[in-house]
């Protein structure tokens, strides 16, 4: 086999594939573990079709919008109609989940994360990758990463739906306006989801990055500067929203199961 990469003819014959002495494997390993936890948890919950609506007002984001005929099992959980067939393989939120998955799969941060942690291309900087060829994002299927902005547009709509869910949760069908710990959990989750969505690189581009003359578009430039500031924390929001989604869903599930009781602060 012909030597390639750092062993290619003409390059310094160092011998070792990498001389890094730090724990370079730790970050990709932790990333892979974190993503797997979310995928397994999210997969199980999306198809569980139980414990998604609590106290007649808390709807978990994994089931929002609840548009399956199965949502009838929890009156009040469907805010936008029920029209998808009730089938074990069709999540109740099948209208939003594929787009949210696509939004995260094509996200510039997550691309880096899984290219490094699962595809090992490269696992860490200056650590050789194991692949014989590298075509990047020029061919199918990875050329589809370029549709990220469409997933972003849909993610904005879903964030609006999540915001609506969080707001209507302040109204209990019997008790009227109430505030419980669950409300604060839903609100915090929605705020973080907006931070992640708005700090997206495509959002930054669409709102102003594509301009050549900022001085001719002061409003878009203002938005671009604010989004740019958020964008520097996009990785942080990417991870914190995975955690907040799990914790929010877990809270709703535990209240729905009766494992814990939602503490009422007002009402």
């Amino acid at each position: 086999m012909t030597a390639r990469g750092v062993d290619a003819p003409g390059r310094a014959a160092v011998g070792a594939r990498t001389l890094r002495t730090d724990r370079w494997w730790l970050a990709p390993a932790a990333t892979a573990a974190g993503l797997l936890v979310f995928v397994v948890y999210g997969g199980v919950r999306a198809f569980q079709q139980q414990y998604f609506f609590a106290d007649e007002r808390y709807l978990t984001p994994f089931y929002s919008p609840c548009v399956s005929l199965g949502c009838a099992s929890e009156p009040g959980s469907s805010h936008f109609g029920m029209f998808l067939p009730d089938h074990p393989l069709i999540p109740y939120a099948a209208l939003s989940l594929p787009f949210l998955l696509g939004f995260r799969l094509t996200c510039y941060y997550y691309r880096k994360a899984y290219y490094r942690s699962f595809w090992l291309a490269p696992a860490a900087c200056a650590v050789p990758e194991p692949h014989a060829r590298q075509t990047g994002e020029t061919r199918f299927p990875l050329v589809l990463q370029n549709v990220h902005r469409y997933f972003f547009y849909v993610a904005v709509l879903v964030s609006l739906v999540n915001t609506y869910d969080a707001l209507v949760a302040f109204r209990h069908p019997d008790d009227g306006f109430v505030v419980g710990v669950g409300n604060l959990v839903l609100l915090a989750n929605v705020a973080l989801l907006w931070c992640y969505t708005v700090s997206c690189h495509s959002c930054r581009h669409v709102m102003g990055g594509r301009l050549t003359h900022f001085s001719k578009h002061p409003v878009r430039y203002w938005f671009w500067t604010r989004i740019s500031a958020l964008n520097t924390r996009h990785m942080f929001f990417a991870w914190i929203t995975l955690a907040s989604l799990i914790l929010t869903d877990l809270y709703v599930m535990l209240v729905a199961r009766g494992t814990i009781t939602d503490l009422r602060l007002i009402g």
């Binding site: 390639r4 990469g5 750092v6 290619a8 003819p9 003409g10 390059r11 310094a12 014959a13 160092v14 011998g15 070792a16 990498t18 001389l19 890094r20 002495t21 730090d22 510039y108 691309r111 880096k112 290219y115 490094r116 291309a121 490269p122 900087c125 200056a126 650590v127 050789p128 990758e129 692949h131 060829r133 590298q134 075509t135 990047g136 994002e137 020029t138 990875l142 050329v143 370029n146 549709v147 990220h148 902005r149 690189h201 495509s202 581009h205 990055g209 594509r210 301009l211 050549t212 003359h213 900022f214 001085s215 001719k216 578009h217 430039y221 964008n231 520097t232």
Partner: protein, 250 residues
């Protein structure tokens, strides 16, 4: 405080080489380049190492220290424990000339492939007028000292010699972005970024940003915005429709 530091320095040329062991005095406040100079002065006068300013501004002393692309003059010895064995090799993406010196002409060839600044017709030097907000994005990229550490660490060429023809590397894709975002540059650089400079091969793993000694956000501020501009043209019919109706570039 001084101590005897242990070093392994790659010595050789294109025909072969090996790591040579050195034990050398290390003094407080020194950088790796200081120690290499002491090795030159006391033990290996023929050790080849390229350097110039010793201030992190000329980009000459790029190498790999413990397997990480870094500037020799900006890597303080204080980041190592006195008991560490510090390994120094040349950049491993480029052909080696001798010891720590590599042939970086690949980068100059790539630089020549990027068409130069193209001002509007009829505008003479001295007549350029730009608003600060319009040029500051390009100014970040002008901080580049051309150390080529980003080129060295980019796995697209580091691990794949066969990509060197089709891929300009992060430094020169950043140059394309700098000109594309320049308020007075009228050349259309987006198609060439994808077709001639290989932007699509970049899979944004951010190693270029990690190793940049100038702290330039190459991936977030140059490569991803260029990918988005390519997406505007190639993958977004809404943008195409909007452009066709308004006939505006921005």
């Amino acid at each position: 405080m001084s101590y005897k530091g242990r070093f392994r320095v790659w010595r050789g040329d294109a025909s072969g080489g090996a790591l040579a062991d050195f034990e050398v005095e290390v003094n407080e406040g020194e950088v790796v380049l200081d120690v290499l100079h002491r090795i030159q002065a006391t033990q290996a006068p023929d050790l080849a190492v390229r350097w110039n300013c010793k201030a992190g501004k000329c980009g000459s002393c790029s190498a790999e220290i413990d397997g990480r692309p870094r500037l020799l003059c900006m890597t303080r010895m204080s980041v190592f424990d006195p008991g560490d064995v510090v390994t120094v090799t040349p950049m491993r993406t480029f052909p080696v000339l001798r010891d720590l010196v590599t042939d970086v002409s690949f980068n100059y060839a790539k630089a020549r492939e990027v068409p130069s600044f193209t001002p509007p017709a009829g505008l003479a030097p001295g007549e350029y007028r730009m608003a600060q907000v319009d040029v500051e994005r390009s100014q970040e990229f002008r901080k580049c000292i051309e150390c080529f550490l980003c080129q060295d660490t980019c796995h697209v060429v580091r691990d794949h010699d066969e990509n060197k023809g089709a891929f300009a590397g992060p430094r020169f894709l950043m140059r394309v972005a700098e000109l594309e975002m320049h308020p007075l540059d009228v050349a259309d650089r987006v198609p060439a970024a994808q077709d001639e400079h290989g932007l699509g091969r970049c899979n944004i793993t951010k190693c270029c940003t990690e190793v940049c000694p100038e702290g330039i956000k190459i991936t977030d501020n140059a490569l991803i915005p260029m990918k988005e501009r390519v997406a505007d043209r190639r993958y977004d019919p809404l943008v195409w429709l909007g452009r066709t109706i308004t006939r505006r570039r921005d």
